[in-house]
Amino acid sequence: MTVKEIFDAVLAFDEATVTGKTQAELDGGTDIDAILNDGLISAMDEVGERFSSGELFVPEMLMAAQAMKAGLAILKPHLSAGQSQSKGVVVIGTVKGDLHDIGKNLVSMMMEGAGFEVVDLGVDVESEAFVKTAAEKNAQVIALSALLTTTMPSMESTVKAVKEAGMATRTIIGGAPVTQAFADQIGADGYSADAPGAVKLVKELVA
């Protein structure tokens, strides 16, 4: 048995094997860092790359993420404070007035898969809710989604509210009608046209 098998099982979307092997490695006394980094996390990095290149389909990517998280759950009680399993906290939601959530859910799931702790506030979310939750959860990033040109102004007011609250939390925005130019205009810290790009963006922002 090796950590490589855990890596392979994540790439095979095989949750049962991931949890089985993770438990076995843990019981066998393998270094937890090795299981975490070389097994689970590097597998998800590989999944992310294969997804971005178009090799993996969305449901496959999501199943891999789920398998990875199941493995992580086994390690969790054994992780020391320094081995925090989360890369950072992201608060995500679709802005006020907007009920579209397909893209937002995708971004949210991919971020989770990439190892971030994601707090999903759902749809039709008020500025205050973003600010409040981000403060409570000590989030590094607030991610806003909008699919209607008519609700894009809610992004502006949310970004403004974050700034007015004097928080260090960074804001990123996305959704079909949103552009980099709009992000610049409202002073958001980042924009991406798709979910893999959103993950890359968050990685850069929390680095």
């Binding site: 178009g54 389909f57 969305v58 449901p59 009920l99 397909i102 893209g103 995708l106 209607l148 040109t149 008519t150 102004p153 079909a176 009608p177 798709d194 979910a195």
Partner: protein, 471 residues
């Protein structure tokens, strides 16, 4: 021999199954209506509800379907342009909802009120479009809260074809009715149609439901439409998608009939693939088209008119892909017997943008399809027996009266497509389709004439809009 063509091969037993399974969902899962006003109606009629979820018994659905008219007429400001929906003709409206314009350069820009007005002029002068859209594009240069007023006023003044009312909020729906009232007075006759989309899966947005309620109470026709992204907001299989969307649409229809039995309804279901490599939404595909075919059969099963998507494409320019996808979507609708299509002219990439040039090209497609579905004439004259016998093998039909009389009307004449011989085509100044479309567009706009309107009425309409906008 039975022809096993996927899209036409469903017998009644399949439709029964879809229907019965939809009823099962309506009874077991219910539909979520996040509107106190809607919940009140359901409660007062004795429906079982749990929180915002309402459950429907078979009888309620059957009763509702029983009061939906099989056909109805929407009045136009110009009575000659009133349209009958459900009477066998195929009624078409242009793009609906896109916030952007894509130019021939490939550049994307925000749509404006001026674009709305240009499209209205094209609708008015269109030979194939039968009614207006309520958001032919979403203008970005006027305040969102009152954009529906600007659009509707422009549409009323620049065209005399039937109107679509706004469903962006209850207030917008009421505004639409107020404007209609100025033209037709207080009437229960259908004078505008509107589109209510459900929020897949198995729910409605509050503003959609409340708009639906406004129109139903006023006896105004509503297109009740549900669609899911296959594999994302609904099952990846067409059978599953049909059941989930049918259940949702039936619940909306039921609400309309509870409020006002006999409210004219256009039944709509759709379903679009998820681009499985990205999670993106695809709106022009064989799967979409298959939905159109089956949905038409379901509408016939229920005895009510139906709606389908129109000339949709994922392309961003006037290329083979745009033509191919638009033609597949529209041809399926036309041959299936759809009563109404929205988005029939001008739409690009996933319904996010409109194009003036594509609008002109789609008109050729729509026009040719209207010709295609027109019944072939089998009269004595049309058989032309005498003439055939007279000319025998020697015939020169070109020189006959029979031909002469019909030479200007017998065939569909495309406006944009070329039928020139190769040498002529080579010599053409504007060889590319989008450039030719641009020329036609310019001619159409410059020859446009505003339809007559009583100046008093015009002032009245303008005043209402100004007051509402606080000008």
């Amino acid at each position: 021999m039975m022809i096993n063509r996927a899209i036409i091969n469903f017998d009644k037993s399949i439709l029964d199954q879809i229907h019965n399974r939809s009823l099962e969902l309506l009874q077991d899962c219910g539909i979520r209506f996040p509107s106190e006003k809607a919940l009140e109606v359901f409660r007062s009629k004795g429906f079982r509800a749990n929180g915002q979820t309402v459950y429907f018994e078979e009888k309620a659905i059957i009763d509702a379907l029983g009061t939906v008219p099989a056909q109805f007429t929407i009045k136009a400001r110009n009575p000659e342009k009133s349209i009958c929906i459900g009477g066998g003709d195929y009624m078409m409206a242009p793009g609906y909802g896109p916030p952007f314009i894509i130019e021939t350069t490939g550049e994307k820009r925000d749509a404006t009120l001026e674009d709305v007005h240009k499209f209205c002029k094209l609708v008015q002068t269109s030979k194939c479009l039968d009614f207006n859209s309520s958001i032919v594009v979403q203008p970005n240069d006027v305040p969102t809260e009152t954009a529906h007023l600007d659009i509707l006023l422009g549409t009323i003044l620049l065209t005399d074809k039937p109107l679509m009312g706004s469903t962006s909020s209850e207030v917008a729906a009421l505004d639409s009715l107020r404007l209609a009232e100025k033209i037709w007075g207080n009437t229960n006759d259908p004078v505008m149609i509107s589109l209510v989309d459900s929020l897949s899966p198995l729910q409605y947005a509050d503003e959609s439901v409340e708009s639906l309620m406004v129109y139903a109470k006023a006896g105004q026709p509503v297109v009740v439409h549900s669609a899911c992204s296959l594999g994302t907001t609904g099952p990846i299989t067409i059978a599953g998608s049909l059941v989930i969307s049918n259940a949702t649409t039936l619940a909306g229809i039921c609400l309309s009939q509870l409020l006002n039995p006999g409210t004219p309804i256009v039944y709509g279901l759709g379903g679009s693939p998820t681009e499985m490599r990205t999670g993106g939404y695809v709106n022009a595909s064989p799967e979409d088209a298959k939905h159109t075919a089956i949905v038409t059969a379901l509408a016939r099963y229920y005895g009510i008119p139906c709606r389908s998507q129109g000339a949709l494409t994922e392309s961003f320019c006037l290329d083979y892909q745009a033509g191919m996808e638009s033609a597949m979507m529209m041809t399926t609708a036309a041959l299936s017997g759809v009563d109404v299509s929205l988005h029939t002219c001008g739409t690009y990439g996933s319904m996010l943008a409109m194009s003036f040039e594509k609008f002109i090209a789609d008109e050729d497609l729509c026009g040719s399809l209207k010709k295609l579905i027109k019944p072939v004439e089998f009269s004595e004259e049309a058989f032309a027996m005498d003439l055939i016998k007279e000319l025998g093998t020697s015939g020169n039909y070109l020189m006959q009266n029979h031909t002469m009389k019909r030479c200007r009307t017998a065939f569909f004449e495309p406006v944009l497509s070329t039928r020139a011989i190769h040498i002529k085509w080579q010599q053409m100044e504007l060889r590319e389709m989008d450039k030719r479309a641009g020329k036609i567009l310019a001619d159409r706009l410059s020859s446009y004439e505003k339809p007559d309107i009583d100046p008093m009425l015009e002032r009245d309409l303008v005043r209402y809009v100004e007051q509402r906008k606080g000008v």
